[in-house]
Symmetry: C2
């Protein structure tokens, strides 16, 4: 499994660079998904739960960004999903240039979809356009229903909100309506899915939505 | 309840500035604790659980840093703990200068202890010395036992690690020994407490430790 040490971008206009990368990827038929969340919300386990639904329908791979471990990329590869580990060298987010470095090192222009698992952080990654076609965030039930009120930019920039660990709803005071009210105040069009990556609840619906979003784009 | 809009520091040497602030606070007999964690680990609820143990023994207050909500400061004040809300204006962490701005606006030189509840983020806050006498981090059980392996700098810079939400241990695959092994690889001297802010388990021991740490310094 390949590990890439990313270099900090020297480009000054990340938004322009991200727009260029987005066009490049569109030209190659690759849908890039930027997956963001707090540490421990279940980014990797959600991808593992989705994997069986993509089999035979979609070719995909994962770029795992981390400060310096390689646990997640190893986990994805063990599950048969092509993966590459990106080390940010302490950086708290990825920008478009760092994402491009990762995609080049991955060297898989044949994929329909690449998921960039961003650094676990609700603040900084939301500020940097990576060039992704779709921004997706995971909020796990134990984190609490008030997160969209406290970290609004994350929810403004995401089209997709996946609420994970629904199997733990009985043990936490998590009010779905309140959470959705906060999230929709940030972004009225945000699409919300409830899943448990552990039990599999709701994963089929999320997989179906992602398959349609990615394959439709190719049609 | 006062809300302070913090300005980004223009000082170049944060470490030097933090050392100066630490000495200033020592001179005033104030112990500053920098409390850090992922979003939703339970920083505010841990402080609420500690509050009754400090009553009559310690005068203290809380500075709640947040991107732009004021939920936490209101919660603390409602519980009778002096609190001030610091808005970081999108910034993902506090440095020593921002901390000083907060302390000045708080204007409570009579307190034994001020807890700075940093922005929910395991990455950036660990990089900036705030001038605190003690760095404390909370890891909640649902986040997983691998967090110290993934966010090592946080555990290197903290003297105190509080594992919260122990009441949910039966529902998560959280291996205490593995977590402690990872944490001690970052910092062999890190002190670990296990608590549930919800049920109160372990809170008395943590309170006792903090009381001793703060009052001893005054003696």
């Amino acid at each position: 499994m390949k590990i890439v040490e990313l270099k900090e971008s020297i480009l000054e206009n990340n938004d322009a660079d991200a727009a260029v990368l987005r066009e490049e990827l569109k030209g190659k038929g690759i849908t890039l998904i930027n997956l963001m969340s707090s540490p421990g919300s279940g980014k990797t386990s959600t991808l593992l739960a989705l994997a069986p639904y993509f089999e035979g329908k979609l070719s995909w791979g994962v770029m795992e960004a981390d400060i310096d471990s390689d646990v997640d990329a190893c986990t994805m590869e063990a599950a048969g999903v092509p993966a590459i580990q990106l080390h940010t060298g302490g950086m708290c987010h990825l920008d478009a240039d760092m994402t491009r470095q990762g995609i080049r090192a991955f060297g898989r222009d044949d994929l329909d979809m690449i998921v960039l698992e961003n650094v676990g952080n609700l603040v900084c990654p939301a500020e940097f356009d990576t060039g992704a076609a779709l921004n997706m965030t995971i909020l796990s039930v134990p984190e609490g229903d008030d997160k969209p009120a406290k970290y609004p930019l994350m929810y403004e920039t995401c089209q997709l909100l996946v609420v994970n660990k629904t199997d733990t709803l009985p043990y936490f005071d998590f009010d779905r309506e309140r959470m959705e009210r906060y999230a929709k105040a940030c972004n009225p069009d945000i699409r919300v899915f409830y899943i448990s990556a552990k039990t599999g609840e709701g994963v089929a619906e999320l997989a179906e939505y992602l398959l349609a979003a990615v394959l439709q784009k190719e049609a």
